[in-house]
C-alpha cells in the first residue's frame, strides 16, 4: 500500500521522495534517541508522566495506548483483508483475524526478549527472500519508467515523502517503550536505533523503486499491493515462478513484528499507567477487544484509504513528532535547571 500511495503522489520520482523522507526523518529519530539517553531506565509512558505531570501525562499516555491498540487492530485488518482479496474470499474476516491475534497474544505472553530474538531470526529469512525477489526482478527492470525526473517540479516529490514519513518513520515512536529500558548500553542502543532506521529506509527505497521500475508509477499507483503484483512477473525458469508467496511471507512476518511492537507498547503503557504488577494478565482481555474491533476498524477499503490518507498523517505527526518534541524540550530545560542548581550548590 505504501508504494502505491507514494507512486500516486510523486510519479516516477518515488526514489527522490523516499530519500527526502528518510533525511527528514533523521531529526525525528534523533528526538527519540535523545529522550532515551536522558532517561535510560524509563519507558516512554513513564517519561510522559515524569515530564508532563501525573494527570496530563496520564491523558497523553492514554492517547498513545489507544493509538497503539488501534494500530494493532488495523494490522490485523490488513492481514484479513489481504487473505480475503488474494486467496479465499468467503471466510468471514474475523476468523482470519482470530489466528493472527491469538498468535500475537502468545508472543506477548512469551515476552519481549523472546519476540525480538524471533524477530532477528525472521529478519534474516525474510530479508533474504526480499533480496532474492529483487534480484530476480532485475531482468524486468525498465529504466525509462524512472525517467521524467522532476517533471512537475519539486512539489509532487515533497508530497510523495508524506506517506513515507507518516507510515515508516513516525510510528517508530512506539519503539520508545522498548528502546531505553530493555537495552543495557545506551550509546550502543542509540547507534542501533539509527542503524535500524537507515536499513529500514533503504529497504523501503529498494522495494518501491523496484516496483516502479518493473511496472511504472501510474500502474503501481492503482494497485493495492504492488510488491505482490510485481512479483507475479517473475517466471524465469520453472523453479522461480510463483514467487509472490515469498512476498506474502515477508508481508506477514513484517506485519506481525509491527503488530507486536504496537500491541506491546499499548499493553505495557496501560500496565504502567494503572500500576499493575504484571502486564501479562492484561493480555487476554485486550486480545479479545482487538479481535472484536478488527473486522470493522475500517468499514471497507474506501474507508481505509481515506482514513490512512486523511486522518493518520496528522495523528502520526502528533504522536511521533509534536509530543516527543515537547517532552524533549521540557526534559532539556529541566536538565539545564538541575545543572545550574548543582553548580550553584557546589559554588556555595
Amino acid at each position: 500500500m505504501i508504494p502505491s500511495r507514494i507512486a500516486d503522489l510523486a510519479g516516477p520520482d518515488v526514489w527522490i521522495s523516499i530519500l527526502l523522507g528518510a533525511v527528514a526523518g533523521l531529526p525525528v529519530i534523533w528526538i527519540y534517541a535523545k529522550l532515551g539517553e536522558l532517561n535510560p531506565d524509563k519507558t516512554f509512558a513513564e517519561i510522559l508522566r515524569l515530564y508532563l505531570g501525573k494527570w496530563a501525562g496520564g491523558l497523553v499516555a492514554l492517547f498513545y495506548i489507544l493509538s497503539g491498540l488501534v494500530l494493532t487492530t488495523q494490522i490485523s485488518w490488513y492481514m484479513g483483508d489481504f487473505v480475503r482479496n488474494e486467496f479465499r474470499s468467503d471466510l468471514p474476516i474475523i476468523r482470519i483475524n482470530i489466528f493472527f491475534v491469538v498468535l500475537l497474544a502468545f508472543a506477548m505472553w512469551c515476552g519481549v526478549e523472546a519476540m525480538y530474538r524471533a524477530t532477528e531470526l525472521l529478519y534474516y529469512i525474510l530479508f533474504s527472500f526480499f533480496i532474492v525477489t529483487v534480484l530476480l526482478l532485475i531482468p524486468s527492470f525498465k529504466p525509462e519508467y524512472l525517467l521524467p525526473i522532476m517533471e512537475n517540479g519539486p512539489v509532487p516529490v515533497l508530497k510523495g515523502s508524506i506517506p513515507f514519513i507518516t507510515d515508516c518513520v513516525l510510528p517508530l515512536v512506539f519503539l520508545n517503550m522498548v528502546y531505553p529500558v530493555c537495552l543495557e548500553n545506551v550509546q550502543e542502543a542509540k547507534k542501533a536505533l539509527f542503524k535500524g532506521y537507515l536499513i529500514g529506509a533503504l529497504t523501503t527505497l529498494i522495494a518501491v523503486t523496484t516496483c516502479v521500475l518493473v511496472m511504472g508509477s501510474s500502474l503501481i499507483a492503482n494497485v493495492r499491493s504492488p510488491m505482490y503484483t510485481v512479483n507475479k512477473e517473475i517466471s524465469h525458469l520453472v523453479v522461480f515462478s510463483r514467487i509472490e508467496a515469498a512476498t506474502v511471507a515477508i508481508s506477514l512476518g513484517v506485519s506481525f513484528i509491527a503488530a507486536f511492537s504496537y500491541a506491546y507498547a499499548g499493553v505495557l503503557a496501560l500496565a504502567q499507567l494503572i500500576k499493575v504488577k504484571n502486564y501479562k494478565y492484561l493480555i487476554p482481555p485486550i486480545g479479545l477487544l482487538i479481535i472484536l474491533y478488527s473486522p470493522d476498524i475500517y468499514y471497507n477499503t474506501v474507508h481505509e484509504i481515506q482514513w490512512d490518507s486523511l486522518t493518520w498523517p496528522p495523528l502520526s505527526f502528533t504522536l511521533g513528532f509534536i509530543i516527543p518534541g515537547v517532552v524533549l524540550t521540557i526534559a532539556v530545560i529541566k536538565k539545564r535547571k538541575e545543572n545550574n542548581q548543582q553548580s550553584g550548590n557546589q559554588a556555595k
Partner: protein, 81 residues
C-alpha cells in the same frame, strides 16, 4: 449462530478467569484483579453486543473526529499535481 458465538465468548472469558485469577490471588495483586475484571467484562459485554449486531463505537471514528478540522488541509496536501 449468534448463540454459539455468545457461548464461545463466555467460555473464553470463563477459561481466562479460571486460569488467571488464582495466579493473581496468590500474588495478592488487587489492582491486577480489578483491571483484569474491568477489561474482561468490557470485552465480553462489547462482544455480546456485537454478536447481537448492536452498533458499538469505533476508535478510528474517534480519531477521525479529533482530526476532522485538519481534513481540508490534508486533502490539499495530498491532492495530485
Amino acid at each position: 449462530m449468534a448463540l454459539i458465538a455468545i457461548i464461545c465468548i463466555l467460555l473464553f472469558a470463563a477459561a481466562d478467569c479460571i486460569v488467571e485469577i488464582p495466579k493473581m490471588l496468590r500474588e495478592k495483586a488487587r489492582r491486577d484483579i480489578l483491571a483484569f475484571s474491568l477489561l474482561l467484562s468490557l470485552g465480553v459485554v462489547l462482544a455480546i453486543l456485537k454478536v447481537l449486531q448492536f452498533k458499538i463505537g469505533n476508535p478510528s471514528d474517534f480519531f477521525a473526529w479529533i482530526y476532522s478540522p485538519l481534513q481540508g488541509i490534508m486533502e490539499i496536501l495530498l491532492s495530485k499535481g
